[in-house]
Amino acid sequence: MEAILRADKLEKTFRLSAKQQKLQKTKEKTKIAVHNLSFEAYEGEIFGLLGPNGAGKTTTLRMLATLIKADSGDAFVDGSSIVTQPGEVRGKIGFLTSELRLEDFFTPNYLFDFFSRLHKIDPAVSDKRKAELFKKFGIDEFAEVKVANLSTGMKQKSSLVISLVHDPNIIIFDEPTNGLDVITARVVTDFLVDLKAQGKTIIVSTHIFSLIEKLCDRVGVIINGEMAVCDSLVAVTGEKTLEDAFFDLYESYAQKEGLI
């Protein structure tokens, strides 16, 4: 199998403002969010980034999506470097996190067309894609309702659909089911499986074990900004459940760092 996405020794350190220092109860002026992080995702698989709160999952994905710059290291998305070719990377991925919002004032229909134009999609192609995706997610009924008046779930579904206007081959989802009810969450996970069947590569981050177990072919476990293990799901869990395997990893990490 061929690696379509390759992260190579990514580093990210944040400078903490006085306010952040107080909030995080630390005297350190900086926070190493991601350290020496490397992994590969293969074409046509679902790759899961698993880690507790604050592990650095979102930071990693934001670097891959070129929203923030890596301090050092690089990543290659279908051959394009996030450091030297961020524009190309943006055209190749679909990125979705809760920090990306849609403008309240517009309707899903308008925004789909707007983002299609930004991606320079042919209008005929875009219209066909819009009809399909809106129908699949039940947005068609709400296509002309302003985003401000949509329910949380419908907003999230609209965001998801709009992140895919350009039919990208690589899809990066941060916490895909956060804040969704079980029914909507099911629609989303089913859709991810569907995308995989179409040959797309998907990278998801989550702290939910069951989601990884249900969806992922391979998994990378991030603890405190570092990749603790990265392998196929079977290789990581062995005979145990993913949860037990994770706690074993977590304990050995804590011992190594002298935390317990």
């Binding site: 999506a65 070129t66 929203l67 923030i68 710059k69 524009g87 190309e88 943006r90 055209g91 991925i93 990125f95 920090e99 990306l100 919002r101 849609l102 403008e103 309240d104 004032f105 517009f106 308008y110 707007f114 983002f115 134009r117 930004l118 991606h119 320079k120 965001s159 709009i162 992140s163």
Partner: protein, 394 residues
């Protein structure tokens, strides 16, 4: 290119589909201006023009026959008084209870004139005391007519030559166009700049800091849209909207002009100003708006939140107002270097073009410097859209 247009179209849709905001941003300043100026004009009118049905009146002591014969045909009502009541009348004049003037002639005025005419003037020359109250339009008007009459009279005595002997009444050639041009050139640049900056100050924070605040700009930043196109799209769309509002404001100002100068001012701007003048005005105004928009956009991008942006925009508005008032208050030299100062240069250029007195080089310096500053600003804005510290600062 298509990225810029897509962003501009979205900004226009955002702006114009919200009818209430759109109408109030574009038309409200003009309407308010028209109302204020028409009102102010009526007020000025009452304040400064004499009441038509009260003829100019003078209370005089020892007025010689020669002057009386000039004043009465000019419509003056002459009341002879004794010197003893002068102090009392002066008090009434000061209190504006008397809408007239008071004149005290020396007793030997006629003897002096006769000696002067005979070529043997007596020194010192005779002195006429003339009291008026400039706050009272009727008194002021009477004073003005009387001093003109006395000037003419003095001229006939010395008479090395005559000025306007038979055409005294028609001699002021100041045309209504000229008066209008002066008023426009003094008031319009300042008011227009203030209206424009307040318009821009209302638009830019919402369009940039607002999007940052709500997280919608991040959605744009993960698309292949170039940062420079995003910056240009924002600046150009804001410029276009402000320009529309600027045009409406200008029209309102010109419409309110006749009310403001308080006469039946009939004028045709297309006759007053050449096409070149109007084109120059448009270019100066446009580049000034581009400059203002860029400055406001930079401030909005720098601010961490919408609230912070509106706070920072306040000082910008004040600086713009001060710089645009300067041309009205002080006469700075017309050197090109001064036209490197943004805002001042635009206000001064507009003022010059409207007054029909300007240095083409200075207009050029204004336009080019506005564009150069805006390019630098646009470049900086692109850098800011690229900087995670600026875009995701919390």
């Amino acid at each position: 290119m298509s990225g810029i247009l897509t962003i501009m179209k979205k900004e226009f849709d955002r702006f114009f589909k919200d009818k209430r905001t759109a109408l109030s941003t574009i038309f409200l300043p003009g309407i308010i201006l028209y109302a204020i100026y028409s009102f102010m004009g009526t007020g000025f009118d009452n304040l400064f023009s004499p009441t038509a049905d009260i003829p100019p009146t003078a209370y005089v002591v020892n007025m010689p026959e020669s002057i009386r014969q000039m004043a009465e045909p000019a419509g003056f009502i002459i009341n002879d008084i004794s010197e003893a009541v002068v102090p009392e009348l002066k008090e009434q004049l000061a209190e504006r209870e008397l809408a007239a003037i008071i004149m005290v002639f020396p007793e030997d005025f006629d003897e002096h004139i006769a000696a002067f005419a005979a070529g043997t003037p007596m020194y010192p020359a005779p002195n006429i005391e003339l009291y008026a109250n400039s706050l009272d339009p009727n008194s002021n008007n009477a004073r003005w007519i009387m001093t003109s009459l006395l000037d003419v009279y003095r001229g006939t005595l010395a008479n090395p030559f005559d000025i306007n002997r038979d055409i005294f009444a028609e001699a002021d050639l100041a045309t209504e166009e000229g008066v209008a041009a002066t008023v426009i050139s003094m008031i319009l640049p300042m008011v227009l700049m203030m209206m424009l900056v307040s318009g821009v100050a209302g638009l830019a924070p919402e369009s940039i800091a607002g999007e940052k605040d709500r997280g919608t700009i991040a959605t744009l930043l993960v698309t292949p849209l170039k940062r420079s196109h995003l910056a240009l799209g924002k600046i150009l769309s804001l410029t276009a909207i402000s320009f529309l509002s600027g045009i409406v404001t200008t029209i309102a100002l010109i419409l309110s002009l006749p009310n403001m100068v308080g006469g039946d001012l009939e004028m045709n701007l297309m006759e007053m100003y050449s096409i070149t003048d109007l084109v120059m005005i448009v270019v100066v105004v446009l580049t000034a708006i581009i400059f203002l928009t860029t400055a406001a956009s930079l401030i909005s991008a720098f601010a961490k939140s919408l609230k912070e942006a509106t706070t920072y925009i306040g000082p910008l508005t004040i600086i713009v107002m001060i710089l645009s008032i300067v041309p009205m208050l002080i006469n700075l030299p017309d050197v090109p270097q001064l036209f490197l100062i943004p805002i001042y240069s635009s206000a001064q250029s507009m003022s010059g073009i409207f007054a029909m007195e300007y240095e083409p080089l200075n207009i050029l310096v204004t336009v080019v410097s506005n564009l150069v500053y805006s390019c630098i600003g646009g470049f900086a804005l692109t850098k800011m859209f690229n900087s995670e510290k600026v875009m995701f600062a919390k």
